[in-house]
Symmetry: C2
Subunit: 260 residues, 2 copies
DNA sequence: GGCATCCGTCTGCGATCCCAGACGAAGCGC
DNA sequence: GCGCTTCGTCTGGGATCGCAGACGGATGCC
């Protein structure tokens, strides 16, 4: 990355992103080490972020965590972002009709990022919680979107086996290779929907369909998640039909939102 | 506020907060005007925030909006913040048992900020969506927390009639005064729960109970929202009992999380 | 209790950033 | 098509920030 023109701003944002990816509050020294910033710089920036409510200092633990102002950015984003604003009610309706949990995600590099989650009654909160990232190739929503990408774009995302690593862990890819993914996505294109069973959460299966924008690009995907051994579960194809209807409707609505 | 030691960082955060409070993407010039920043400074900072994904530029509309990096801060916050992490499953359980929507909020100045929302099936998404702020004195969660504050703290929050204004609108207070609020909160303390019917959303009522930490401070509140004219609605006192059980349990769990 | 380590604050000067304002491009109204 | 307004980029010098490193306090271990 070219050297930022406003290093203090860039460092501030890097620190916020770093904090967002930690499991809990962290000591200031680990922020300095991780981002290779001078300690005094980190303390100065933390002071400014505290003042604005983006960061909280926990003196008893001598750690820093994200504050309420950071949290509030998400409602601003969701309010402004047509996919989240328009998709929320559609996912809610789907969940009400099917009685299973649903979510909406977007592709972000090789990850999916969940923008909307609606939990069905008596179902657990899912690992696919709002704001969470997961590898696209492992999830129903991610597979649905990857299947809708042009071949060149897909090759760019997954040039080699290293692309299947997760969080720097080279063993995370297991047996995944570009050829296996290509075969899987071919099947997704044939059936029109993506599935995943037990790969994200053991015992749960998901069915996802891409939301295509007016030029056919996968702007998002919608999925429903259900216990994969429940006797009351609908056939996957029937669930996929309902998901497709919601995805197509969202595609129409985001087209209208853009005034085309 | 004393002049910030790192103005670029401070300006960046001010711009993010400003964007979070807009209804949609905005032109750069309005950011400069609202925050009284030089236009070239605003463009430089927007460029840095774009690079880091916190902001997106919409060239066709010549506007700027929040980006996914901003959105992701919320999941970091929710993961790290014990109230959200521990409260989510409790609110989910409450919603499953009662069949009505529920949420968890914290007091932030004179506002409540919603950290968790669980929608019951076939119920609308509420105005109390995650990340939203509302005036505390108008909401069940807010009233529950205000009732648990020491009198001096309450007077500090509502010193005069102007304190009831909302978003700078002096007419928003209607007939609210400190004395009326005090009377209302007295009733809340007597019943042990706060109510609100139609004041936040016409046709919907809420019942809220404060979550007290180990020193008796209202760390949060939990509320359930239901149609206030439904023949199938439980009596408010029964709902309040269930909400109280969840609030007390959360109070115990956050005490344990702090190791006391 | 002493020692080592880490935290958070402070200093000052060389490096560089911030901002006023100019400029060309784009968009809009007539 | 023209004129006006707004957008986005660019420049340079005075103002001021960033950072290396010192320091005192806090914490934990022996």
């Amino acid at each position: 990355m070219a050297k930022a023109k406003v290093p203090a701003a860039d460092q501030t944002l890097a620190m916020l992103s770093h904090l967002a990816h930690q499991r809990g509050p962290v000591p200031a020294a680990t922020i300095a080490a991780a981002l290779e910033l001078p300690r005094s710089t980190v303390y100065h920036l933390l002071a400014v972020m505290q003042e604005r409510g983006f960061v909280v200092h926990l003196p008893e633990e001598r750690r820093y965590g994200l504050g309420v102002a950071a949290f509030e950015l998400s409602s601003g984003f969701s309010r402004q972002q047509p996919l989240a604003r328009l998709g929320g009610p559609l996912v809610a309706g789907l969940v009400d009709r099917l009685g299973e949990s649903g979510h909406l995600a977007v592709l972000h590099g090789r990850d999916v990022l969940y923008l909307v989650e609606e939990r069905a009654p008596r179902r657990p909160s899912l690992v696919t919680d709002v704001g969470v990232r997961l590898p696209a190739y492992l999830t129903a929503t991610g597979r649905a979107m990857l299947a809708a990408l042009p071949p060149a774009q897909l090759r760019a995302l997954y040039p080699d086996r290293a692309a299947f690593a997760w969080r720097g862990d080279p063993d995370a890819a297991g047996e995944w290779r570009a050829s296996r993914l290509k075969q899987l996505l071919h099947e997704v294109r044939e059936t029109g929907w993506a599935a995943e069973a037990g790969e994200v959460t053991p015992g749960l299966a998901s069915v996802g369909v891409a939301v295509l924008d007016h030029v056919g690009w996968p702007a998002a995907a919608i999925a429903v998640t259900y216990p994969d051994d429940s006797p009351r579960t609908l056939p996957a194809a029937e669930i996929a039909g309902a998901v497709r209807a919601a995805a197509d409707e969202l595609g129409r609505r985001i087209g209208a939102a853009r005034g085309c």
